[in-house]
């Protein structure tokens, strides 16, 4: 298989943040399950979920992935090569010292966790050394957060709306601020592998 050529322009990232909504579980699995053991970038993901009851997202992803998956715990330090997912009913934020924190502040775009909240705080914490990925979804959460990552000099990637299960979220992000890459899920997976080499 030939790796698509990405112009990363000597860019180095320290972390990857991912947002997804409707149809997002399948999309997350498609880009993440084949990441190899030893992958070193930390990954932080927000997937919109029903806000009541305990989500088993970390378990579901953990059973399919070769990297450790954890539901984000408040004030936990971000470790390399680990996927953190937001617990249902809480916003997930990244602090300046690269620990995670949770909040019960009101929903943003009817969502808690909100992708915007997570991505904006991650942009503050990692600045230009961050890659943000926005996948399928039926609302406009994430567009603002991804734009924030781009404005801070981070790398922005949006799933190709024509391929996305629901195109509203990718389209909103593209309309808000042109992303660095618009890719299918296979392309996003390849880019994740490429980012880990730099």
């Amino acid at each position: 298989m030939t790796t698509p050529a990405f112009d990363l322009s000597g860019r180095t990232v320290d972390a990857v943040v991912i947002g997804a909504s409707a149809g997002g579980l399948e999309a997350l699995l498609a880009i993440l399950t084949q990441l190899p053991p030893g992958y070193h970038l930390p990954l932080v993901a927000v997937l919109h979920l029903p806000s009541h009851g305990d989500s088993r997202l970390a378990e579901v992803l953990g059973a399919r992935m070769r990297l450790p998956v954890r539901e984000a715990a408040d004030k936990e330090k971000v470790e390399p090569g680990t996927l953190y997912v937001a617990p249902g009913g809480y916003h997930l934020l990244v602090e300046q010292d690269l620990s995670l924190s949770l909040s019960c502040d009101p929903p943003v775009h009817y969502s808690r966790p909100s992708i915007d909240v997570m991505m904006e705080s991650a942009a503050d914490a990692w600045g230009e050394r961050l890659a943000g990925i926005l996948l399928t979804g039926a609302n406009e959460d994430g567009a603002g957060g991804l734009a924030c990552i781009g404005e801070r000099g981070g790398l922005t990637i949006v799933q190709d709306p024509d391929e996305a299960a629901v195109s509203t979220m990718p389209r909103a992000a593209i309309a808000r601020r042109a992303p660095d890459h618009v890719l299918g899920l296979a392309g996003i997976h390849a880019l994740l592998l490429e980012l880990d080499k730099h």
Binding site: L93, S103, C104, D105
Partner: protein, 272 residues
């Protein structure tokens, strides 16, 4: 290392508020606190945090208004019903052994959790010999809590929570509905004291048998979390109980060796 201008402004604002009004936000979780401040800026017609700081320093009314943004009240009755089930199962039998019972709801917001506990204690036959302290740093929230009036529209969800929380009657038995509002029965607050208290700057005010502090510590950094947990430890009687929020734990705290876990899932702990 050069710091971002906004980061500096946030530190200065927290310092200004502390020096001028004594409210200490300096050890709040930075990311959430920043969101709240940024959200407040347009409400005060300020383009920058520095501009807001100037208004806060010179206009006490602006600080009181800003406080409503910095301590966003989010609460509901019988939130996380399984927590209340665990209280009934694991804590009530021990509370029953005391001639009088003191409960502290720290960070009680607008009082929903205080009234939930009052109902639980009433149904367990303990309310008459209980004293519940509900404390918060936001005077407007405390005033709402004292009134005990909640939107009728929210009661549907609270009633659902109440049933799942092991409620023995109907939630509607405890309030009078009028004009889209639910007025909680006065007997529930007969033994309740709502008071101003800060986990960041104040000390222990009473010995207690149960401390419930839910979804408050997540807004604190580890240093302030440790301070608050230290206060709870000092306040609790020998073998007293502590309940935290569903996603809060003592795993990363210096205090974890001073409590034993009663129910890990429900975040129920007991003083060692």
């Amino acid at each position: 290392m050069k710091r971002d201008a906004t980061e500096i402004e946030l530190k200065l604002l927290a310092e200004a508020i502390y020096l001028r009004y004594g409210h200490d936000f300096r050890d709040y979780s930075g990311a959430s606190h920043k969101r709240r401040v940024m959200h407040a800026l347009p409400e005060f017609g300020c383009a920058t945090i520095s501009a807001l700081q100037s208004r806060v320093l010179h206009e006490p009314a602006v600080f009181q208004a800003l406080l409503q943004f910095l301590t966003i009240p989010v609460s509901e009755m019988f939130r996380d019903p399984s927590y209340y089930l665990a209280l009934r199962r694991d804590v009530v039998p021990l509370l029953q052994t005391y001639p009088s019972i003191k409960v502290w709801v720290a960070g009680c917001c607008t009082g929903e959790e205080v009234y939930s506990l009052a109902i639980l204690l009433h149904e367990e036959g303990l309310l008459e010999r209980s004293l519940i302290y509900g404390t918060d740093i936001n005077p407007a929230s405390l005033e709402k809590a004292r009134r005990g009036i909640f939107p009728l529209a929210a009661m549907q969800r609270y009633a659902d929570n109440y049933q799942k929380a092991g409620g023995k009657r109907q939630l509607s038995d405890y309030y009078t509905a009028a004009y889209e509002a639910a007025l909680l029965d006065r007997f529930l607050s007969a033994n309740v004291t709502f008071a101003d208290h800060s986990l960041a700057t104040d000390n222990v005010f009473s010995e207690t048998h149960l401390v419930s502090c839910r979804n408050v510590l997540i807004y604190f950094n580890r240093k302030l979390q440790d301070r608050a947990l230290g206060l709870f430890h000092a306040s609790l009687c020998h073998r007293g109980f502590l309940g935290l929020g569903a996603k809060e734990s003592m795993d990363f705290s210096a205090c974890r060796d001073r409590f034993e876990t009663v129910d890990r899932r429900e975040r129920l702990y007991r003083k060692l």
